[in-house]
Subunit: 192 residues, 4 copies
């Protein structure tokens, strides 16, 4: 009934917002355009979301939650595998998530560094998981000791490098290979 329709509208607005934010960038996305793309009026957008900031926040939050859940599942599922399998599972999960929300990828990467001082909650979420993973790797002596504090960032750097490459050359590399490549570079480096 009503409830259904309302939720449907909310989802339509979220989807439209995701697309417009991604296309126009975090600052050039206009509420009217989001409304138009969602097929509703501005007022309706404001009936569903307090204001522009809240719309963006809820959008990021829902994607963050989704990814966090996926990562937790992956970490839990692979808890007893050898470390390299865990790592591959983790990275693959990230790639799959971005595959599902490709338009939004740009927002997260942008939000990642845009306000460097305070990384977005979404990023902290990923980072926390990466740290968990790194701790496991260190415990299992699968990762070496030097500059341990850099490891999560290095891992994330490798992942982003592959993500960006894929954004600029869409589909050049199948998902599974992307994960392998990122993990490979992270673990073994580029030396011949």
């Amino acid at each position: 009934m009503r409830e259904r329709l309302r939720e449907e509208t909310g989802r339509a607005i979220s989807a439209a917002a995701e697309q417009v934010f991604a296309e126009k960038g975090l600052h050039l996305a206009r509420m009217e355009e989001i409304a138009a793309l969602a097929g509703v009026s501005v007022g309706t957008v404001y009936n569903h979301f307090e204001d522009r900031q809240a719309l963006l926040a809820e959008l990021l939050e829902s994607r963050r939650k989704e990814l966090a859940q996926r990562l937790d599942q992956a970490l839990a599922a692979s808890a007893h595998e050898p470390f390299e399998g865990q790592l591959r599972g983790f990275v693959m999960t990230v790639f799959i998530h971005f595959e599902d929300h490709r338009p939004f990828l740009s927002i997260m990467l942008e939000g990642d560094q845009a306000r460097l001082a305070q990384p977005s909650p979404a990023m902290r979420e990923i980072r926390a998981r990466a740290e968990t993973l790194v701790r496991r790797g260190l415990a299992k002596k699968a990762l070496r000791q030097g500059h341990v504090e850099l490891l999560p960032g290095i891992l994330w750097g490798a992942v982003k490098a592959v993500l960006l490459h894929d954004l600029r050359n869409p589909g050049a590399l199948p998902v599974a290979e992307r994960a392998s490549a990122a993990v490979d570079f992270f673990l073994n480096g580029a030396r011949a």
Copy 2:
């Protein structure tokens, strides 16, 4: 004479713009604030720069040119060294440049991904040098073959990981060590 003064003012405006763009973000930086920080009126800013976009463009361009020169010098100076020395020189140059233009770092990292479609000229510049370097490394068989197209990004990912770490923990690592760490991870990976 007059010429001197004019150049001095232009530089003051650029410096102010660099700081304000970095502090407020690419979109929230206001012309008035830049003018105020430079100690001139808005009108004067417009006498020196066509418009807001031109101000940002010239700012990026001047920093880009500076960095490009430094990188070219470093590449040239180390052209006959073993590859690892070249790599360390390259990375160190990047770190030193950002040490000199720390506020600018945020602009670049932001601008890097903000409009993913068009990476900033500065980024392309770095990327082009990184590709040159990678080609040299491949030629010298210092870098391995698989997924060659990812190598510049991976290198840049390692560099950014260290840069971000330094931004969030300023001074935790001396410049020279930063370069070593980034190069080490890029070449050898994180495996124990």
Copy 3:
């Protein structure tokens, strides 16, 4: 039957409107808030009242009518008393009415002067009665002649002074005393 229910709802909406108009002010009162306070949906408010303006108008009108009736009763009941008794009865009636509709008091006092060009019907109603009373007082030579046209306003000014005092110091003065004080000042002035 149905009729009962409908009237009940209408009254609930009026009461809610009275309270919200009083609390938020004539312009900041929102239809949603009135509906919520009445325990119905906005739609229902519109089923009972043409639009916002009509709601306010009918509210004012119903309160006005009620007060007018009370005043007429008081005037009729005291028609043959000495003038001072009539006056006290009149003033007391006003105080009692506002005691019953304290939230409404603010609306009326506000509406009184908000749009000075058109005093509210309620105010005209009171004023008309005050004029009747003043005419009686003059006829009985209980009131003096000078500036006769100011008398209703002066009377009303004394009444409002006491009402406002009571609004700001609720209950400081019992209703009966309020009437006495207002009448006393109106008739005798403040001179020692």
Copy 4:
């Protein structure tokens, strides 16, 4: 020079705001209309006043200050006169002020009671002066004792009654007579 023009513009905006607020009421006055009446663009209004609320606040504040000064002068000048003279001076000052700002009179009277809980600073200002005067009158035994706390309100009620009468019948009574009438009713009451 510049400074002159700027102040001139500020004054023009204030004057326009005074008129529009008075004509349309506190809530229906639109910034665009104020700007248009002042012969400037909206932006200019915002260059001179933080926002809508600040414009209104500064307007009220400047009028309040003006009146407060006038009242203080009047009170000081008549400090050694007999009480009735002081009273007449006070009331006359109020009438003259409103004569000068007739359009704005409505705003002050409106603001007076609109938010009854918290009388405007302007009103508190007048009230404080009225209290001073009342204290003097009591000290000199020119005012009687009963319900002393009501006296300032009663005085103000008489003044407003005359003001409102004048607003509705403009010019029916010369300023000097208005003061006399108000004082007369306040001191002697309406009894024959």
